[in-house]
């Protein structure tokens, strides 16, 4: 071992960290022959003793009791909240997500309830008639099927407001009534009459009758 090797390992030797006992013995042997390294060993030994004395002096140092009290209080509070009825099942993140989900579900449910509440069977308000597979499946007899097919194949105009309904409230509980009108009624709404029209001929129309029994819209059936 030379001085450079000694220097690189002296602090580990004096602090008992040298893993290799043979190397430790070599270092001590070297210090016995080299004045400079002997001095280095001496000052490192004194430094280690001072550090150990300082560590011993600090060994009794502890955080004050008030820190433990504050922490125990925080721990109890945390445990109490964690064991609450809602938080017992999952963490905060889960409940945040769930509350967003519940809010969304409530909005969707309210929308569906409003729409269904306003909708009556056979009241396709302001909608063009579309084939309904559910209705087709529900009809059992051939007569009912034929009526349904005819109904779905009918062409209609759009609903024409009659100017008696200013807001959606007047359409609450509205019903649609099919009526027969003189063909001339088409002209009153600016609609054309077929060339093969015969005087006294009638046309079918569907009239939306509002809550007060007042007709609010009309559409003509082809």
């Amino acid at each position: 071992m030379n001085c450079k090797d000694f220097e690189s390992t002296v602090h580990e030797i004096v602090s008992g960290r040298a893993a290799d006992k043979t190397r430790q013995l070599e270092a001590l042997e070297h210090a016995g022959r080299c004045l400079w390294c002997a001095l280095r060993l001496d000052e490192e030994t004194r430094l280690t003793e001072n550090l150990q004395a300082l560590a011993k002096a600090h060994h009794v140092q502890r955080a004050p009791a008030r820190v433990e009290e504050a922490l125990l209080q925080a721990f109890r509070e945390r445990t109490r909240r964690a064991n609450g009825p809602l938080f017992a099942l999952a963490g905060k993140r889960f409940w945040r997500r769930l509350s967003w989900g519940l809010a969304f579900a409530a909005i969707v449910t309210a929308t569906v309830v409003i729409v269904l509440g306003n909708r009556k069977p056979g009241v396709p308000l302001l909608q063009h008639r579309q084939p309904d597979s559910g209705a087709q499946a529900a009809s059992s007899g051939p007569a009912e099927q034929a009526a349904l097919d005819e109904w779905t194949n009918e062409g209609t105009t759009g609903f024409i407001p009659l100017g008696t309904c200013d807001d959606s409230d007047c359409l609450d509980d509205a019903v649609v009534v099919r009526v027969a009108l003189p063909a001339e009624a088409l002209l009153d709404f600016g609609l054309p009459i077929n060339n093969d029209w015969v005087a006294g001929e009638s046309v079918d129309a569907e009239v939306v009758i509002g809550r007060e029994g007042v007709p609010s819209a009309i559409r003509f059936v082809n």
Partner: protein, 204 residues
């Protein structure tokens, strides 16, 4: 409570997660001293050591699942947190109160009570000089000296706390001790005289 003392840190942590207050208390009492002393020795401030100790365990209460056993011991994890908090607070405050200027509760006095007052005085001065020399070291050397020499941590645990390699810890400790010796011997003058007796080319 007595049987909890037998349990490992990781077992206590698991029980603590399940709301066991005694397990938390046992873990706190086992580890708080090391954390408190580390910050005290790093900063010289008892107030800072107290604050950091509290913050570390508060963080453990809030996020006890943040500890990953594959990355080191719980003690090293807690000291790493303490180091992080201490560095943050020191940077915020810029200055800290050295021990001889007094911390809280009159903790400036080192607990010596030997029978010979003269010996005690000399010993106390010597240790306080070491303490001041440590406080004047650059931070990364100070950390190595405090963890390895004062807290007798292994190189591996120290490397885990500091987030560096074992080789880096060794070299920082070596350099830190060399700087300490310089400071204790009176700085450059002592270093010069030490070099004067250096038998150049000694390859004995």
């Amino acid at each position: 409570m007595a049987e909890l003392i037998e349990l490992r840190d990781e077992q206590l942590l698991k029980m603590m997660r399940d709301g066991d207050e005694d397990a938390f208390t046992a873990l706190y009492r086992r580890r708080q001293g090391g954390i408190y002393r580390f910050v005290l020795e790093m900063s010289g401030s008892a107030a800072l050591a107290e604050d950091v100790t509290q913050e570390v365990f508060m963080a453990l209460i809030r996020e006890s699942r943040g500890y990953d056993p594959t990355r080191g011991s719980l003690a090293a994890y807690l000291l790493g947190m303490a180091r992080h908090h201490a560095v943050r607070l020191l940077k915020r405050d810029r200055t800290y109160v050295p021990m001889e200027e007094g911390g809280r509760d009159g903790e400036k006095s080192l607990p010596f009570s030997p029978e010979d007052p003269q010996w005690a005085m000399s010993r106390r001065q010597s240790i306080e000089a070491v303490q001041q020399a440590i406080l004047s070291l650059p931070e990364h050397y100070r950390e190595a000296v405090v963890l390895c020499d004062l807290n007798e941590m292994s190189y591996e645990d120290t490397a885990s706390v500091l987030g560096c390699s074992v080789g880096t810890v060794r070299s920082r400790l070596h350099r830190g001790r060399a700087l300490l010796l310089q400071k204790l011997a009176g700085g450059k003058k002592a270093e010069a005289s030490r070099k004067a007796i250096d038998p150049s080319g000694c390859l004995a």
